[in-house]
């Protein structure tokens, strides 16, 4: 009789049935047997220095690999530390599978070590949550967790695995793994709705396509390409949908950043909004009150959310593109596209000049341009911070899916996500450069993860846009309460690159424009996790700050 531990059952199931090859974790007593199981079955464990990084890495992994990311945290503080990462994944609709330790079932209500009600705490920020009480049902619970994470709108799920089932064993021959099925059933709109959408598309004079994370998670880039090239709409890809087609595509407006969307959307007569929610960033209903809107969303309840759509198409974005493509006429909107591009470029004159002009002190957009000059578009870019997220989103261009991400710019506005996402990007794409543009404030939140990068050989190049402040907050305070009354928003000059050097990475300090590119070259050539600490102009305010301030000042 071969016995198998509960922790090993969980690891074996995930490896053999769900195809999990990497788990992000931080060790703990309650999850020891599961960690051992992952070792036993050859699952790579990336152990971090704070559980929020594990959750955020798994979130990033889910985007770069287009499959659920798995993090494993221990009970109590391991769980609470992970909460920010789980909440971020929830608002970002990312398929994150959180496996969590728990105080023993045996010890409920005895003031056991790390005894808290984790399930009730995590309910508002997960799609599904459960505790498994029976060793024999571990595979069934895991199957449910993975299925829930990706069914419909993706999102995080949470499974508690108490030591009472992880640390005991059962006869392996009695173990049954649920079959992993790929269902062919799809939610699809009625044919009449598709025809109505095609009619609007065919009659559009000033069209615009805005795609969000739903386009990315759909993972049908070819279907999107065929559809968009047939209808000829200019498009912007936002959030985790960015890169479904390269930023350099002739119809793409991503070189204009959000300025382009904000300039063009009010002029458009027909807008296709696919896989994107009308959040505050999209200015909800205000940005394009006049346009006829075709909304495509995996969640039917989203179709008329915030504003009524002229046509609502429920379903996976890729499936709907496939069905719409034969229904629409081939169209050429070249004159409109030229108008659009000329218009938004005329609104970005200063930004373009800043990118192309040597600056002293260094301007943030000049910094992004110098990085692009050295690294190019065959790379993955991440940015983290308030203003810094804007500069990254505007300044970086990539040929790759999710090649430019600003996870701190998602709905939770969660600073500190940059380093975990960059690590996930590098692990998922080891042959490509991964560049992280970091604010100095947000750098402090997860900078100990450079230790993780060194231990696991994850050579990310982090460039700090160092304005010695929580820039977005500082500039907002300057606008709202005055330059002389800024509170808790100033930082001081710190040599963050030396922290990285001490942790075993590569570091440089840069103050001059001419030194940026050589420093980046040396950082890449070092082959180590690297930090280039660049002092930038602290007076520069990004449009994101103006928008942020306006959003909070209208009371």
């Amino acid at each position: 009789m071969a016995e198998i531990f509960g922790g090993h059952i969980a690891a074996k199931y995930m490896k053999e049935v769900e195809g999990v090859d990497t788990v992000f974790t931080l060790s703990g007593g309650h999850i020891e047997n599961l960690l051992d199981g992952f070792n036993q079955y050859g699952v790579r464990l990336v152990d971090v220095r704070h559980e929020q990084a594990a959750a955020m890495m798994a979130h990033g992994w889910s985007i770069y690999k287009n499959k659920p990311g798995v993090c494993l945290v221990t009970a109590g503080p391991g769980f609470t530390n992970a909460v920010s990462g789980i909440a971020n994944a929830f608002l970002d609709a990312a398929p994150l599978v959180v496996l969590c330790g728990r105080h023993p079932l045996r010890d409920d209500n005895t003031l056991a070590l790390q005894e808290i009600n984790q399930i009730d705490m995590v309910k508002p920020i997960t799609k599904w949550q459960a505790t498994c009480y029976d060793i024999a049902r571990i595979p069934e619970y895991l199957a449910t967790a993975f299925r829930q994470a990706v069914t419909g709108r993706p999102g995080p799920v949470f499974l508690e695995l108490p030591p009472d089932i992880l640390f005991v064993s059962m006869d392996e021959k009695n173990l049954v793994f649920p079959e992993k099925r790929t269902h062919r059933t799809r939610v699809l709109p009625h044919e009449s709705e598709l025809k109505a959408a095609a009619h609007l598309i065919d009659n559009a004079k000033k069209p615009l396509f805005i795609g969000g994370s739903g386009v990315g998670f759909s993972n049908q880039d070819d279907a999107f390409k065929q559809f968009i090239e047939k209808i000829g709409f200019p498009f912007a890809l936002l959030n985790n949908g960015r890169g479904a087609l390269p930023d350099s595509h002739a119809l793409c407006m991503n070189d204009g950043g959000f300025t382009a969307v904000a300039a063009v959307a009010p002029q458009a007569d027909v807008i296709i909004a696919a896989g994107i929610r009308f959040s505050w960033v999209m200015q909800a209903t205000k940005l394009f009150p006049q346009a006829k809107v075709i909304r495509i969303d995996i969640d039917p309840a989203e179709l008329d959310n915030m504003r009524t759509s002229q046509v609502g198409l429920a379903g996976d974005c890729g499936d709907i593109f496939e069905r719409l493509t034969p229904l629409v006429k081939k169209a050429d909107h070249s004159p409109w596209i030229e108008t659009v591009k000329n218009a938004y470029q005329a609104m970005l004159v200063t930004e373009t000049e800043q990118k192309n002009t040597v600056s002293d002190p260094i301007l943030p957009l000049r910094l992004t341009q110098q990085i692009m000059t050295e690294i190019g578009t065959d790379a993955y870019y991440i940015s983290d911070g308030g203003d810094t997220s804007y500069y990254g989103m505007t300044g970086f261009m990539s040929d790759h899916r999710a090649g430019v991400l600003a996870p701190a710019g998602s709905l939770l506005g969660c600073l500190g996500t940059g380093i975990p996402f960059a690590m996930a990007a590098k692990l998922a794409n080891p042959g490509k450069p991964v560049i992280l543009l970091h604010g100095d404030g947000s750098f402090g939140m997860n900078c100990m993860e450079f230790d993780t990068m060194v231990r696991h050989n994850i050579p990310v190049v982090c460039v700090i846009n160092n304005d010695c402040a929580w820039g977005m907050i500082k500039h907002s305070q300057e606008m709202s309460i005055g330059h002389d009354r800024c509170t808790c928003s100033e930082l001081e000059l710190r040599h963050y690159e030396k922290i990285v050097e001490e942790l075993g990475g590569y570091g440089e300090f840069v103050k001059k424009d001419d030194d940026i590119i050589p420093a980046i070259k040396r950082a890449v050539d070092s082959g180590k996790p690297a930090c280039i600490n660049v002092i930038t102009d602290p007076t520069v305010v990004s449009p994101a700050t103006a928008m942020f301030y306006q959003n909070l000042s209208d009371f």
Binding site: T259, A262, A263, P266, Q267, E338, T339, V340, N342, A343, Y344, A346, M347, L348, V349, T350, M479, S480, V541, P543, A546, M547, Q550, S553
Partner: protein
């Protein structure tokens, strides 16, 4: 001359609105924004300053703006600013008649608040 007078007139309208127009007063009550409207040659220009509900302006070119609407010439500037079409600025930008310097977000804001006095 028409353009210069238009900018002067706009300044007076904005000042009056800051006292009498409820919607306008609400929109500008917290704003600290400087908008320059100028021709490309800088010969005709006016700076509009919004300072927590107060609106002031002074003629001539100034460098200390948050956003500048730079018209190719006074004729285009007059035509765009007096147009009743919502897409006049957008089309002028597309045709090379207008560019925005500084932060276009504030230019859009200015366009929105001036709509309130039409």
């Amino acid at each position: 001359m028409k353009f210069t007078l238009l900018l002067f007139g706009l300044a007076q309208l904005l000042k009056i609105a800051s006292h009498l127009n409820k919607a306008f007063k609400h929109a500008v009550r917290k704003a600290q924004v400087r908008i320059l409207i100028t021709t490309r040659d800088r010969e005709r220009a006016r700076l509009f300053t919004f300072d927590r509900g107060k609106v002031s302006s002074c003629g001539g070119f100034h460098n200390d703006y948050d956003a500048a609407l730079v018209f190719k010439n006074a004729g285009i500037g007059f035509k765009v600013l007096t147009s009743s079409k919502a897409d006049a600025s957008f089309n002028a930008a597309a045709d090379g008649g207008l560019c925005i310097r500084g932060m276009s977000f504030y230019a859009k804001w200015f366009q929105d608040v001036t709509q309130l006095i039409r």
